[in-house]
Amino acid sequence: MADPARVPADLLYSDHHDWARVEGEEATFGITWYAQDQLGEIVFWDGAKVGDEVTAGDSYTELESVKAVSEVVAPLSGRIVAVNEEAERSPETINEHPYEQGWLVRVALSAPAEADRLLPPAAYEELIG
């Protein structure tokens, strides 16, 4: 049984531990509870730029934690239409609320059908054991 705090039921997931909340032609991206737990305390996010194109499977930004700098991989392709400036200023938000206030970017999708390739909650739950 999926723990809704760790793997919310209304999201799609990638095997890079990113999530996407798809709403019509747009989607919000972030990193999963598991990803932030593995990274440890996040100390810096250099953000992203509105208007930049992202490609599913490719890195679009980096997060720095006390352990390491990690690339964040886009679960879907499109163009960034909003960046979470609050999370940029206070990166601990990404640790504390990875699915709510800690979202990273909002993207206008160029290929919404790519969502079919993402993992539903149950499959992601299985992936992280």
Binding site: Q38, G40, E41, I42, F44, V66, A68, E92
Partner: protein, 490 residues
């Protein structure tokens, strides 16, 4: 304990010295240095007495954990004992008081030491041409990648990518990026070595170089090295050896014999150094004949008359990578180490380093501790090994970081933690050859004690250290809100 900086101590006008009488004719400052080069305000310097200076730095040194205080098994850093003989030799006035701009004719002994050291390092690497110039391993890597570029350009090739394994030291990708290449990561296979299929798939004509550490950061010697070398040379690329782990194989095998074209040494690791304060380091490189024309200048040259000189006349050279000749004191210590041990001794040092690591691993196994801290790859190791703290975190609720911090209460410096990145909750342990069996046993007992107490009360480890001058640091807070300057007013 006082945490005041040196600037917050003392009194205006206080001095710890008296200038001697001027024994040369007094000349106006304007004559000695043009006014545009002189500062407008005097520098703000500490104004303290000698006892205040001494006490300040002794106080700081007591807060520090160093190799002279206790066991320091920091993986991939080779924290071996620095023999005191080396300090005596490096302190000889002919070395210690040498001016960096001394004329070669007046520095023959120093140049001869460099020339002999180059010869010894060339022999250890199995690659005859050496430059001592780079200041650290990372600097040696940069030299190696710049030489790679110069070599390819001279041969009319370009190449835009450099391959590194996903176990590589972080300096490898950083070097590649700084030298203007693109990093392409190679996967690790189940045995912990380079995934040959992945390498084949990524080895194309755009690849300029493969950077490899062997044994790698998992402490494992890659048995496929000859096949790897054949693949890399087959596409016309350069094979670069990261010498960070040379302490495992010195005198046993040579990177040049394995097929490497360029090697860097970390003199401060493999050949001893009072190290741990971030330097001084030295990262000499040894290269094969085809790379030699591009090596940095000046080169130390021995003339037919036996005189030593600095040779700048190398038209294809990439030039200088630093001022002067490198961290010279490090060369003296390294040369002393090589002469003290000799060829057989260097080989034995590596053998004992590997033996100590395998003994430590076997003792951890005998004590049943590998159930909570399993070996990440393989069964035996080189001079270091990687454990995963994932079962410990799951079963006892303490993380690798907590175990590391708790070790400080036992008078032991933690191993390298959370590296390599591909191992969950990693602990990278390198005991080195200079530790006794008793010290290794104490380390195992400390790990056993920490795991046993965590069964009862995980809070002890979670809040550790409890006995050090500074307790658990807020690392995230320090990184998020770093205070890196202090305003000093006169």
């Amino acid at each position: 304990m006082s945490a005041r900086t040196i600037f917050e101590q003392g009194r205006k006008g206080r001095r710890a010295f008296v200038c001697p009488e001027l024994d040369v004719p007094d000349r106006p400052r304007e004559e000695l240095l043009p006014s545009k080069l002189r500062r407008r305000e005097p520098a703000v310097l500490p104004e303290v007495s000698e006892p205040e200076i001494v006490r300040h730095y002794v106080r700081l040194s007591k807060k520090n954990f160093d190799l002279d205080s206790g066991f320091y098994p920091l993986g991939s850093c080779t924290m071996k004992h620095n023999p005191r003989l080396h300090e005596r030799v490096a302190g000889l006035p002919g070395y210690a008081r040498l001016h960096p701009l001394q004329r070669p004719a007046a520095a023959q002994g120093a140049l001869e030491l460099m020339w002999r050291l180059e010869g010894a390092l060339g022999e250890i690497a199995g690659l005859p041409y050496v430059s001592l110039q780079p200041s650290a391993g990372s600097h040696g890597e940069l030299a190696g990648v710049l030489l790679t570029r110069a070599y390819h350009e001279a041969n009319g090739q370009r190449g835009t990518k450099v391959l590194t394994p996903d176990t590589a030291h972080g300096t490898n990708p950083a070097t590649v990026t700084m030298a203007g290449y693109e990093v392409v990561k190679i996967a690790t296979d189940e045995a912990g070595g380079v995934d040959i299929d992945d390498l084949r798939a990524k080895a194309d004509e755009d690849v300029a170089c493969l950077m490899l550490t062997n044994p790698n950061t998992l402490g494992l010697f890659d048995r496929n090295i000859e096949e790897i070398a054949a693949i890399v040379h087959g596409i016309g690329a350069i094979l670069y050896y990261d010498g960070a782990n040379l302490n495992a194989v010195m005198g046993r095998t040579r990177p040049g014999d394995m097929g490497f074209d360029i090697v860097h040494f970390n003199l401060h690791k493999t050949f001893t150094q009072p190290h741990g304060g971030g330097g001084p380091g030295a990262g000499p490189i040894a290269v094969s004949e085809r790379i030699e024309p591009f090596l940095m200048t000046p080169r130390v040259r021995r003339g037919e008359d036996g005189e030593f000189d600095l040779d700048y006349d190398k038209p294809a050279s990439i030039g200088r990578l630093r001022g002067f000749q490198g961290n010279f004191g490090t060369f003296v210590r390294t040369y002393a180490y090589i002469c003290s041990l000799g060829a057989e001794g260097l080989r034995e040092a590596s053998e004992v380093a590997v033996l100590n690591a395998n003994y430590l691993l076997a003792r951890l196994g005998e004590m049943g501790l590998l159930e909570r801290l399993p070996l990440a790859y393989g069964e035996l190791c080189g001079h270091e090994f990687v454990l995963s703290g994932a079962p410990m975190k799951r079963d006892l609720g303490i993380r690798t970081l907590d175990l590391a911090k708790r070790l400080l209460d036992f008078g032991i410096h933690p191993p390298t933690v959370y590296f390599p990145l591909l191992v969950d909750e990693a602990l990278l342990i390198e005991p080195t050859e200079t530790e006794t069996k008793e010290t290794l046993d104490e380390f195992v007992e400390a790990i056993a004690a920490i795991l046993a107490e965590a069964e009862e009360d995980p809070e002890i480890a979670r809040t550790a250290p409890h006995t050090t001058p500074v307790r658990r640091l807020d690392e995230a807070g320090a990184a998020r809100n770093p205070i890196i300057r202090q305003e000093v007013t006169r």
